[in-house]
Each structure stands twice: as structure tokens, then as C-alpha cells.
Amino acid sequence: MDFQLSPQEEKFRDEVRSFLKDNLPAQGEKRPADFLAQWNAKVREKRWVGFSWPSEVGGGGGSLMEQVILKEEMARAKAPGLGTCFMGLAWVGPSIIQYGTEEQKQKYIPDILDGAYQWCTGYSEPDSGSDLASLKCKCVREGDEYVVNGQKIWTSIAMWSKMMILLVRTDTEVDSKHDGITCLLVEMDSEGLEVRPIKNMGGGAMFAEVFFSDVRVPVENRLGDEGQGWQVTVSALANERSSIAEVYGLRRKMDELEDLAERTVRAGQKAIEMPSIRRRLQRADIRIEAMRLNGQRFLTKQLRGDPLGSETSINKLHRAALEVEMGELAMEITGSASTLMRGSDVAPENGRWADYALGWPEVVIGGGTPNIQKNIIAERLLGLPKD
């Protein structure tokens, strides 16, 4: 066991640190108006956007350990993200790199790295949520085109995206529901494609329903082979298994909660000194630390050349529980005022925590519900029979 960095890794960490020192305004210092544009250009030039991708496609070719160091340092410094095309960087790009044609790589990868526009993800359907592979969105080939008819739902940022990675069913006569699924890259301004935003319980709209009526997609926009869509999706999602960014996100939220409990006075007592509040904060804090260390154990496995499997469900379950608990804790800390939304003059931090307490479903349900994660652990890690 050894948690020290090698001299070479330390050198890379120092490079990241000195970049952050030079390019990130100190805490509380006002950021110039063009700060984000400047930042995006600089991290792009360092090849830290798509840092894990091979250098032939314009990525950074960073080693696994360097990727971790970069993410950790960025998170610790509370730096803005690396790149702006969220889903493009998270899974669309990796899928195209793995399964795409030369033309597809040239056409899409540079734009993803530059953050030229957004991608959205058309996976879930009204009757295919947790059971994604049962999806039915109909797709028939006509000459050099596919014709798509059907509906997608819970498509995050569909209304602001230029492109969609879409799963459709090209074959209904299959033995396994995982066969007969095909992956397409679709322009959102295609004729017959309609986006209808869905208002969430917090009052905002981040996701949408997407309707397809006779939407025509050129065959060259197919990613991977016909019927290979499930495989494309699974290996793309595997790219999203490192939990480092989530851990630091939770850690930051935890610091803010602690701060809120420190500043909030209830019946003459600081909330942080109320034993019940303090214990709950501590319990959450320990779980975040456990997540961080779990992540390092998984990383060790990867560094030894073993791919990660279902053990990533451990941190997903922690995260799900923590997102809910921390929202509840913020409510508990702020008492009556916790129920007020943005615009009320006594709403703590202008209703920010109320938004948080209404926002957890996006991550808790979005990445596979906790019950599904528990099934995965029970069946794949404990070897219990499938339901």
C-alpha cells in the first residue's frame, strides 16, 4: 500500500498547480468578463480537454494516474470544468473514438473538444427507463437513409443541443432484447424532430421529450454496425465510471453545508452545535471520505490492468443517498425558512438550498435508480439469482 505519487506524477501535479495559480483568480477576487472564454481556450491549448483521449484525435493522451491528478487538482481549486460539451466529452466522444468511422471522427471530435455546440442523449423512452434495452423507437432503413419514428424522454438539454446520440430499434425479430438496437448520430434540426421541454418539480426545465415523425438520418450517421447499439452504449457508459469528479462535487457541497450550519442560528444556538445536526453532518462527511477512498481502491484495480465492473455501483449508491440526505440536512438546518423559494427575502441564500432539495432526482434517478444499483450488486457481485 502506498498513496504517494511517483516523482513523474508529482511533476505533473506541480505543473497543474502552477497553471491554476497563474490562471485562476484567487477566491473572492472578481473574474474578468471574458474569464471563461480565456479559461476554455487555455485548457484546450494544454490538451486538458479530452485529456484521456488519444493524441491522434486531438486528445491529451494522459495516463490514468495523470487524469486522476488533473481532476483532483481542478476540483480542489474549484476551477471551472475542462471543456463545455458535457455529454460529448463524457460519452459521445469516447463512443465515436471507439466505434466511429474516420469521417465521423474528423467531423465531430474537434467540435466536441472546442465546445462548438452541445450533444444530448436519446436513450430513455416512456416505457423503457431502468429497463433501457426494451426500447422501441422504430427505425427502418430506406436506401441510404434511416427513417425514425417514436419518442424519447428525459433527454437532458435537448432544447439547447445541436446533435443527439440516439438509440433506436432496427430489428424486432431478435432473441435477446439487447440485439437489434442501433446507434445514430442525429441533427436536432432534422425535419420531423420535435422537442418539448418538461417542467421538473423544482420549476425549471432541464430535460425534454423528443418526438420523431419520419425523421430521416443518413446511413453514414450510424455509429457502429446495425444491431451493435447496445454494445456502443455500454462501453460508452463505462467511460463514466470513475467517481472522482462526483466525490469532489459532494465534498464541495459538504463544505458549503458546514458553512451554512455555522452561520445559521436557531433558537439562540448555532445549527452546527445542535448535536443531531452535527452527527448527521459527520455521518455524511465520513461517507464522502469513504467514497474517495473507494475510488482509490478502484483506481488501483484499473492501474493493475483490470477493468472496472459492477463495484462502481457502490459509490453510485452512496452518492444517491448523500444527495438526498444533504438536501434534507440543509432543510433541517434552516428550519422554517427552508421551505421558501427564490425571491423571498428571508429564503436562505435566495432559495438555493430549496432548489438543491428539489434537484436530487436528476442525479439519483438519472444514472440508474438506487434499486437498480442494488440489484446489480446483489446479482453480479454477490451472485444472487436474477429476478
Binding site: M1, Q296, L303
Partner: protein, 375 residues
Amino acid sequence: MNFGFTEEQDLLRAEVRKFLNEKAPLEEVRKQCESEEGFDRGLWKQMAELGFAGLTIPEIHGGAGLDLVTLLVVLEETGRSLFPSPLLSNVVASQAIQRFGSEAQQARWLPGFADGTRLGTLALLEEGDDLSPDGVKLQAKKDGEEIILTGRKLFVPDAGNADVFVVAYRLSSGAEEVGLALVEKGSAGVSAADFAAMDLTKRVGSLELNDVRVPSDQLLCEGGPAWSAIQSLVELGAALVTAETVGAAEGALAITTSFAKEREQFGSKIGRYQGVKHPLAEIYVDIESYKSLVYYAFWALDEGHDDAALAISRAKAYASETFPLAGINGVQLHGGVGYTWEYDIQLYLKRGKWMRPIYGDADYHYDRIAQLGGL
């Protein structure tokens, strides 16, 4: 970056597991812990010969001179098999002497710990069950270079079998006016006996000292350094217990999981039902998580990292809160047979009760975390 074990440590694990599977399957464990001494002295001797007893004792004193991370591997295995032995108590006592004893004291005591002929333990708690300096009330009277001890120690692990006790005593009323001394079982005025305990695999008892004269060459430390010594022994004990808990919890999960794969109700193996699957998955998530915390804690201890104490308290707090639930859920998922003496899951449930308070319960460790500058 390497959060794993060396090849040697993996081999050691395999060797310990094989040894325990052969010599101490649960039906043997039941016999051993119901015997007079509560453990098998012959087996303990064999373990000592294999080097497991003196793993962290320096080679010059007859041990293997290995680090705590290596010991962790052994503890996970003794925990998994609920092996009744004085290992934990012995490590705490030998570390007390290694860390705070003189060369002469080390030479005198450690070889006996390493070869399995002598057993030691820490006698810290008293009535009041208080792990703070105030909890040490047992009064010492100075008599020249010697001290005279009178009082009663409670919840002393392996009290009935110990040959030597590392005793915490009070010099005067100042908070940290305490000391640590070695008291031999054979000395005049010493009596020790085990209580009737819930977890038969873990002996615990009391130590009575009645005008016990302790010669100066058996004193370890006094004053401020003594309190930090005591504190560090509590931390060590908490770390050792949590390491054993990882193994014990995996044992509890394994037997409950295999029960769920065999037992049929409503025409199907009960392990197919989500009402059974989900609690088992939750237990798994908790085990893997305090495992990470305790692994890191052991590494930090070996490296002398300044966050070692924090790491230990996080691990112990998490394990104290969740491991007892693994036993309770394990019994529940077994149904009626889980409640019987015959089925083994009850042994793990009792281990959960034993581990919860020892070397500080969750509440104690939450307070420690705050004291140490954590949240």
C-alpha cells in the same frame, strides 16, 4: 499510488485463511470458545510458530518485524473465521511496550508475546465507562521509586488469560496526571477474572488491584506523555477491531448470501426477491466502505501520517454503526433458524454487539473527529 497489498501479503492471507479453515472452522470455534480458557492454547502456539502472533514485534525480540498493514491481512482473516484468540489484546500490549517501554522492558516482555507463551492486555476502563482522562481513577500512591495501586479495572479484554496488564492509573487530580505501568498477574494483590460475556469468541473481564506494589522497572510513562500513550493505544485498538470487523462482516454476509441462494419459499430461492437482495447489497456497500477507511488508516499509522487518528475514528464510527446491522439483518433474513443456537449467523450478530462499544463507540469517535479538527 497503490491501494492494494503486496504479493507477500496476498500469500500471507492465503496461508492464514488455509490455517484457520483447517484448524478453526466454526464448529471448532464453538468448542474452543466454550472451553475453560476460551481459546485453544495449542493452536495459539502453532500460530506463534508460524509468526502470526509476533508479526509486528521487532525481529531482535523474536518477532517478524512487519508493519501494521501486514497485520491487517491477518486480522481480516481472524475476523472472518471469528477465531477466538488473544491476538488483539496481545498486539495492543506489545505495542504499548514497543512504543513506550525501555530497551530492558522490551527485551524482558516481547519475546514471550512473540513465541506465544505470554499474554498481555490493556486495562484502561473503569466504572463510568469513560475513555477520557477523567475515566482513569485507579489511584497510585508513590512510595519512593515504586507505586502502589488500588482499584478495579473493567471491560479488560482477555483479563482471565492475561499474564501481564498494561494498567492506566491516576497520580493526582490534574486532568492528564495519569500513568501506565505493567502489572503481572502473579503479583501480590492482583486478581483477574472474565465476565459472562455475550460474544463467547471474545473474553472480557475485570482486574482488581489491592495495594499492588509495582517496581520502578515496570513503569512505562507518566503525565502528559502517558495520556497521549493511552490515547494512541485506544486508537490502535479501534483500528485492530475495525480490521477484524471487515473480515467478520464479510463472513456474516457470505453465510447469509449462501443461505439466500439455498432457501426456497413461494416456489423460488429467496435470494431472487428484492426484499432479500437489497439489504444484502446495502451490507456489501457498507463493508466495502469501512474497508477502504480502515485500509487507509492502517497505511497512515504505518507512515506516521498526521491524519491517522482521524482516519481510524472515521472507520470505527462507520463500522460501529453498520456492522451490528449486518448481524441483525443476517438473522432476520435467515428467518426462524437464524434465532437458533445451532445456526452460525447468531455468532456474527454477537460479534456485532461486542465490537460496537470496544475502543470507543460511534458517538465517542464522532466526538474524537471533532476534537481532532475534522468536522
